[in-house]
Symmetry: C2
Subunit: 284 residues, 2 copies
């Protein structure tokens, strides 16, 4: 996806939010915002949103000296979601449509996104998403793909959310003949995206036959580029590729064999999907 003009003020909102997670010094917050704005106005806006996002968050990291401004909220939402794990694990097991129920939960968890907005309510969102109509619903296609697949590649999005991804993965493992899972997390901290540390903390890495793949987030972080040959080869060799959230959709929307699970949370993504904000999407 191309950058939309709406992304420009949104990057600044993100930078300000990230700065405030690290420092109460309003003078420093203002300096960071001014530096981000100066960088943005001098920049060619034909880059992709994730590329610009990395530049913006690099400024926050450099100016605050904090490599992971979202550290505290990331742990907080992992903990909140882990507390909900047993209840929703049982909910899925008791469900007459466990795959669909766990997909709904994984999408509800996608509301935990500090990139897209500043305010959300996880419990209210779960309640809504468990019964809400999908705006795009390629469920049968995903089900058929899982029936045939040997290998599943799963691109995670945010901390907290990955606890619900774990329930979905466990549901898939229990019901389909998946021999290997490639679970892709970010190679370094960016916004509240999940990294290897979060995958370990939330028990994802305890799943059988699961490999972690690190995704490059710029700034010489370790990992594979989402649109690089090496990662796309892994996707091509997987029977099923599931991508969570807006950022992965922005990077990969042109790849038609990927299943995108997300909640539309910003006008730019919603518009691209022909959806409204708050709509839930299973696009394959």
């Amino acid at each position: 996806m191309k950058l939309n003009l709406d992304c420009i003020p949104c990057f600044q909102r993100q930078a300000l939010q990230a700065a405030r997670f690290v420092t109460d010094d309003e003078k420093l917050q203002e300096e960071i915002l001014r530096e981000v704005i100066t960088e943005l106005v001098d920049m060619d806006w034909s880059k992709s949103p994730p590329e610009i996002s990395h530049i913006v968050h690099r400024i926050v990291k450099e100016r605050t000296g904090e490599d992971d401004p979202y550290k505290t909220v990331k742990k907080q939402y992992n903990d909140i979601a882990l507390e909900l794990y047993s209840r929703y694990k049982k909910f899925v097991e008791d469900s007459s449509t466990p795959l669909l129920s766990s997909i709904r939960l994984a999408i509800a968890g996608n509301v935990i996104d500090f990139g897209a907005s500043s305010g959300f309510n996880l419990n209210d969102t779960i309640k809504t998403v468990l019964t809400k109509d999908f705006r795009i619903f390629d469920y049968e296609k995903l089900e058929k793909s899982l029936q045939r697949t040997g290998e599943l590649t799963y691109l995670a999005d945010n901390t907290g959310e990955i606890v619900f991804d774990r329930i979905l993965l466990e549901t898939i493992i229990d019901r389909y003949d998946v021999k290997k899972i490639n679970f892709a997390v970010k190679g370094a901290p960016i916004i509240n995206d999940a990294t290897l540390e979060d995958a370990v903390y939330t028990g994802i890495t305890d799943l059988e036959n699961l490999d972690i793949i690190k995704i490059d987030v710029g700034m010489n972080s370790p990992g594979l580029k989402r649109t690089g040959a090496e990662f796309l080869d892994i996707c091509a060799n997987s029977g099923t590729v599931i991508s969570k959230g807006q950022g992965n959709y922005e990077a990969l929307s042109e790849y038609k064999t990927i299943f995108f699970l997300l909640m539309a949370k910003c006008p730019v993504i919603a518009n691209d999907l022909g959806a409204n904000i708050g709509d839930i999407i299973l696009k394959g």
Copy 2:
């Protein structure tokens, strides 16, 4: 109120929205956004939000050649609200607490604000606000003030919304001994704020003993400064002053004799009021 750093990206969102109301030319939209950003980054941020807002919207007007970018949506929301007038006029007349019911409606109408956000639902908001708890509720104080008053000064906010202001004013006229009303509208178009033309269109100017006061919106527009001696004298001579909406609150929050009726729609205002977004306020 002082400008908050959150206002900086919000001004850009507003500029982009205003530009899009006038032109589909994405190149021109980008140029306008870049000019707004350049102006903002070079600016001293100790100005008040309305001051900066005027500068930002001047750029949109100059670059598009359209003096009133919100013209179409302003008429649209006046018409939508006028269609609801009879139903809610009757609702208030049938109510056991007509003053309170018309206050709630006037606050619900305050959701029609293109400055604060891009998306709102008027009908859903009315339904909610008619029963919602107030975050700040100085109702008795306002009632007592109206019982004693001879003259009422009323600062309007947005188009569409002023139809609900009309119901509130009619309710006050019918029940209290108000000899004169000063109804303050903006002296020139700014965002979707109500001007004289809207007061005429929605029948406000047909109310008895009502004078229109024009408020200066910068750029050599006609009208009195909200914090200038002449307008503050009018307020001081009125038994009751009612101010609608966020913009008037930003300009006048330090004046403790004014009753502020509004819905908190942005984090900056909400924070200043100790409220959450969506909260309804009657602060006196």
